[in-house]
């Protein structure tokens, strides 16, 4: 117990409180900017069981804020990479990884295994899914979200308190609020908001202080001001989720995150890497790309051809101008296929580049 001695000497926690922490089971949805600090501090605190669900892979642009990761895990699934770091931090914690997307099909079963759910996701579709699944499984939800220099924190569905839908009844109009990696964010902000979430988790476990339920906190990193607004439970909003519960598992989640991180320019391609180039143009379109192996997978038949995607290779999709390849990329992301990029330029530019450099490819077929 030396590890937790600074907790135990606090009269508000003591050995009893530390026991509660050691027995708690929490699930973190998303091991990104918010998930990383949450995971780091809850693992350090000795939370008994921690589940991590994330389908995404670590990218270089994540390292500015996702503090569990380093250069050695680029391309690796975030849940798995996080576990490796966290087990070194505290091997007494049982860490379960789910390297997959949260869906209406897997959420209920997964949430039932945990006491507290923490939302560190980066899109509204997942946030509403998490909220509704928490209502259906009656689990408290520790919510955090960020926008550029500002953050929101609240605890929903806690002891009959309000849910996310009591504040924001339905998702905003498509594209009204930028999702995912569309926007910049100052790196320390998710650290601040994520740590506020971790603090609320410990308060819930320890039944300590006043949990941030019935209130939503806004934090502005530029002004260092916080505003805490009172929110009320909206029985109608919650009943709607409960009555629609029987068809919950038939719903599908459609996360479309056209992330700039996933666009690659020809100049940034390392042709010595093991890459599968995929042409998403229709079969008749010219010019064909010569001088390197290309998988033909026209966008019109894309969904049926996913079997030809090679899981262990980096995948670069291209078309004529980079628009259809972006659509194809979104399809692959929805199917949880990682390590995939959309070529910024098109087939023409790729041909010219190959001709000029006479690059030969490493190809293991």
């Amino acid at each position: 117990m030396t590890r937790y001695s600074r907790h135990i000497i606090l009269p508000e926690i003591g050995e009893q409180g530390q026991d509660k922490i050691n027995q708690a089971k929490v699930l973190v949805v998303g091991a990104g900017g918010l998930g990383c600090p949450v995971l780091q501090y809850l693992t350090a605190a000795g939370v008994g069981t921690i589940g991590i669900i994330d389908f995404d892979a670590v990218e270089l642009s994540n390292l500015q804020r996702q503090v569990l990761f380093g250069a050695s895990v680029l391309g690796k699934n975030k849940a798995i990479a996080a576990k490796e770091r966290l087990q070194d931090l505290n091997s007494e914690v049982s860490i379960k990884t789910y390297p997959e997307a949260l869906t209406h099909q897997n959420a209920i079963k997964l949430f039932q295994k945990y006491d507290i759910i923490i939302d560190g996701s980066d899109n509204f579709e997942t946030r509403y899914l998490v909220n509704d699944a928490c209502i259906l499984t009656n689990k408290p939800l520790v919510f955090g979200a960020i926008y550029k220099f500002e953050g929101q924190v609240s605890v929903f569905n806690y002891k009959n308190g309000p849910s996310y839908r009591c504040v924001f009844p339905s998702p905003p109009k498509k594209d009204a609020v930028p999702n995912c990696a569309d926007m910049g964010v100052i790196g320390v902000l998710p650290g601040i908001i994520g740590n506020m979430q971790a603090n609320e988790v410990l308060k819930i476990i320890l039944d300590l202080g006043s949990v941030l339920s019935g209130r939503i906190l806004y934090y502005n990193a530029l002004t260092a001001k916080t505003s805490t607004l009172k929110i009320r439970r909206n029985e109608t909003a919650i009943q709607m989720v409960l009555t629609a519960g029987y068809q919950f598992q038939n719903k599908t989640i459609n996360i479309s995150c056209p992330s700039n991180d996933k666009t690659i320019a020809i100049a940034d391609i390392d042709f010595d890497e093991n890459i599968q180039f995929i042409d998403v143009r229709e079969h008749h379109e010219q010019p064909k790309v010569l001088g390197l192996p290309v998988t033909q997978l026209p966008l019109s038949q894309f969904q049926n051809g996913l079997k030809s995607i090679e899981p262990n290779k980096k995948k670069i999709l291209f078309c004529q101008s980079g628009i259809r390849s972006q659509k194809a990329l979104n399809i692959l992301i929805q199917h949880n296929i990682n390590n995939v990029f959309s070529l910024k330029e098109g087939a023409n530019a790729l041909n010219i580049y190959i001709k000029e450099t006479q690059k030969t490819l490493h190809h293991d077929n």
């Binding site: 926008y147 926007m183 002004t223 505003s227 607004l229």
Partner: protein, 77 residues
Amino acid sequence: MLITIKYFGQIAEVTQKNEEQIETSASHISELLDALNQKYKELKNKDFQIAQNQELVATETKLSGAEIALLPPFSGG
């Protein structure tokens, strides 16, 4: 009456300020919103909730408070 209006996130980007004081004769929140929509044309395309004196309220609510806040949802993580 003189009220303080606070803006957050995307809303503050539309209004180009975090906070302002305005003189209004509006009797309900909805009336105040009409005035703000006039002043900031982009506002009608934004999603937000409204708090009066640090408490979330519906637009039909009577304007009684000294402080109004326009609260957008954030999705980032």
